[in-house]
């Protein structure tokens, strides 16, 4: 896709704005996707964050930041709790200028707080301000106003606008809808405010499940600054929205089981649609969702959902995927659906030009449910799952969700998942779903049940001593296909028998394959419980004495990715120090060091008595 920034902004900027302000002749077209133009990526204001945006009649956009020096500052240089800035220019050449607080600001900041949403109406800036970030953002938010483009803000001008309250059932966390320049694209004279339901009032985290309500109040006489004038969306009647002044009657306009916290919603004039951005699941992890609707009350349809956004985005900048939240710049909406998306992460402004897509078919059907779900019991605390991939012809499958006993426990980009920290000897039921490119989730797969192993399977291996002093180590990840074998080679395992999967093992040094050959005291370590020691011994080598006396052949083998086969010889030990020998002397040009796998084992460490009466009954 080609973005046509120069033609839009050098030639058409004022034209399309003027055209839109004449009316809403555009045919409403559903937005079906968004494409980002990564070469236009910019990072600004490092050390600062939040960055809501609105657009005033002076053709500048205005934003706010928290805990940093704003544009030209750093996290410490010019740091203020709350700052405001002016963003001048088209996206291709925008510049930020600190107005209130921060480095080289026009005015000093006069009070603390955080602002998460702004609108510009009649040349005045209105912002939702809290006293701080973190939990205090949930205790109250109020509207503050500036009549001089951010140079002056009066705290507590509208105490009757205070909402939130850090307890369930209060109005919720408020956010404005932006309607073009200076609110000029608004049709009905109302200010619209989404509020996000507070489920957990204890901390500023994604509220799960997510519920957004919608309130409105007249622009006239700044009626929206007093919640007594608000009326809440209560549903549809004959296709028209219905409203009630009683918040008890309100109905959600959007719900997301993965949660919500922040909200930015903007009118998109090119397609006469609304686009909403939410975050979900967990903060600061790139969990963003983009929705679109023909009206502020919906129906909202998801057109993009990201987990760890940027992680897999082709061409995305090489930055960590800890995006927190984002907004679209109102000034940067083009006549053909061009856009610019500004997101922040701790801590910086990040932005990129983008394009709303309408030509695609909005994928409204979920992908098929996954099949072939299988569980492998790894230990008393871990079960591994695998399933067959499914496809979605419309928007593709992006990831899979994993449910344990009906509750989501994680997601996977591939067709496998390890569930750990389980209770031992406990039965668990698993299901998986597929999630497609627009975030629609399939029905659940058939369930599979597995029971973790019995017993306390934790074993601690400590005080490893090696005759050569090489740095052997315990791999806590557990033995699996792909596990590294040695501390000094990249060899991995290509085959691991099921009974040994997930067990801790000692990564030895392959360079020790010829060390002190014939020694019966080479490697020692402590274990804190009864164990079965499996020594994975290279089949090309003579089996040393210490590995014969007292060890038995388990009949199991490991196979390395080099093709080498390692027989597993087993022996039980009580808790305490275990001493193993070295490899046997032999031509070891083509051979490897052994590995040691530790299985929290049978309590039986008592050998049988020796057999009696051995005799030759026929022979020479």
């Amino acid at each position: 896709m080609k973005l046509r920034w120069p033609s839009i902004f050098l030639v058409g900027a004022t034209l399309f704005v003027a055209g839109l302000q004449e009316g809403h002749s555009q045919e409403s077209r559903p937005i079906t996707g968004i494409a980002f133009d990564w070469p236009t990526y910019r990072l600004e204001a490092p050390g600062s964050d939040n960055f809501p945006l609105t657009w005033c009649e002076d053709d500048n956009q205005y934003t706010s930041w928290g805990d940093g020096g704003g544009f030209g500052g750093t996290n410490t240089n010019g740091r203020v709790s709350l700052g405001f800035a002016r963003v001048e220019g088209d996206y291709a050449n925008f510049t930020g200028h600190n107005v209130w607080g921060g480095v080289d600001a026009e005015r000093e900041a006069r009070f603390d707080g955080k602002v998460t949403s702004m609108i510009c109406i009649n040349g005045n800036l209105y912002a939702w301000q809290s006293s701080g970030s973190g939990e205090s953002a949930l205790s109250w938010k109020q509207i503050i106003k500036s009549s001089d483009k951010g140079r002056t803000w009066i705290e507590d001008e509208f105490p009757q606008s205070r909402v939130v309250g850090n307890e369930p059932g209060r109005p919720g966390i408020p956010y404005f809808i932006n309607y073009g320049q200076n609110y000029s694209l608004n049709r009905d004279g109302f200010v619209y405010i989404y509020t996000i339901r507070i489920v957990n009032p204890d901390s500023w985290r994604v509220q799960i499940p997510g519920v957004a309500w919608l309130a409105r109040a007249p622009v006239a006489n700044e009626a929206f600054t007093d919640i007594a004038n608000w009326e809440w969306f209560t549903g549809l009647s004959g296709g028209a929205a219905t409203w009630s002044p009683d918040s008890a009657d309100r109905q959600p306009v959007l719900e997301d089981p993965d949660g919500m916290l922040r909200n930015s919603t903007i009118y998109v004039p090119a397609f006469d649609r609304y686009v909403m951005v939410t975050n979900h699941t967990a903060r600061n992890e790139g969990n963003l969702a983009w929705w679109e609707a023909p009206e502020p009350w919906g129906p909202w349809r998801l057109f993009r959902k990201e987990f760890a956004w940027l992680n897999s985005e082709t061409g995305a900048p090489d930055i960590s995927n800890n995006a927190t939240f984002g907004v679209f710049g109102p000034k940067w909406m083009g006549a053909n659906g061009e856009c610019a998306f500004v997101w922040f992460r701790p801590d910086a402004w990040n932005s990129v030009a983008c394009q709303f897509l309408v030509d695609g078919t909005l994928d409204t059907s979920p992908p098929p449910r996954p099949a072939g779900l299988a569980a492998t019991i790894i230990s008393g605390a871990r079960i591994d799952l695998s399933w067959s991939a499914v496809g979605d012809p419309e928007s593709g499958v992006r990831f899979y969700n994993i449910y344990r006993n009906g509750r989501k426990v994680g997601s996977s980009n591939g067709t496998s998942f390890s569930d750990s920290d389980l209770d031992d000897a406990t039965s668990y039921s698993y299901e998986v779903t597929a999630v497609n490119g627009v975030g629609l989730e399939s029905e659940k797969s058939d369930a599979v049940t597995a029971t973790t192993r019995t017993g306390d399977l934790d074993v601690t291996i400590s005080s490893i001593a090696v005759a050569t002093g090489r740095p052997y180590r315990v791999s806590e990840d557990g033995l699996a296909v792909g596990s590294p074998m040695y501390v000094d080679r990249s060899f991995t395992l290509s085959s691991v028998p099921e009974p040994l999967r997930g067990l801790p093992y000692i990564q030895t040094a392959n360079d020790d394959k010829n060390a002190e050959t014939g020694s019966s005291e080479f490697l020692s370590f402590d274990v804190d419980r009864t164990v079965t020691i499996y020594v994975a011994h290279d089949d090309r080598l003579e089996r040393p004495a210490w590995l014969i006396n007292g060890f038995s052949d388990s009949g199991l083998d490991l196979v390395s990715n080099q093709g080498g086969s390692f027989s597993l010889f087993a022996r039980n030990y009580p808790a305490g120090r275990i001493m193993l020998g070295s490899n046997a002397a032999a031509d070891q040009a083509q051979s490897s060091m052994y590995m040691v796998i530790v299985s929290p084992g049978s309590a039986d460490v008592l050998p049988p008595a020796p057999p009696q009466g051995l005799r030759v009954i026929s022979g020479p």
Binding site: E542, D604, V605, P607, P610, P620
Partner: protein, 119 residues
């Protein structure tokens, strides 16, 4: 079943065999085989009842006292008789160990010796 130390043992046997005079055949079996029998243990090493016996290993060598390090170890399963075959002429020292299901291996049984004649 896995036989270890095969190369070494065969090498030693070849050297020993050079010094052994031809012997008359004294038994009905084919040359180079020895059939062994033993009694199953009924207790663990501490005298407690043994109820998880899994099988046996035969250890044999041409040197004494027997040491698994320079002998041959054969896992034979849970039987009380076994025939060793393809033995080169010479004197063999043989013992047997018991193994339980947890993999615990007993000490060696009393060691016996037998002579394998050249055909």
């Amino acid at each position: 079943m896995r036989i270890s130390a095969k190369t070494t043992v065969l090498g030693l046997l070849a050297l020993v065999g050079l010094g052994i005079a031809a012997c008359d055949l004294t038994g009905p079996d084919a040359a180079g085989t020895v059939t062994l029998a033993w009694e199953a243990p009924t207790t663990n090493a501490d005298g407690s009842p043994l109820n998880d016996l899994a099988g046996y290993q035969i250890v044999y060598s041409v040197s004494t006292p027997l040491n698994p390090a320079n002998g041959t170890v054969v896992d034979v399963g849970n039987v009380t008789t076994h025939t060793l075959t393809d033995l080169q002429p010479g004197t063999y020292y043989i013992a047997v160990t018991a193994i339980d299901v947890s993999g615990n291996v007993s000490g060696l049984s009393d060691e016996i010796s037998t002579e394998v004649m050249a055909p």
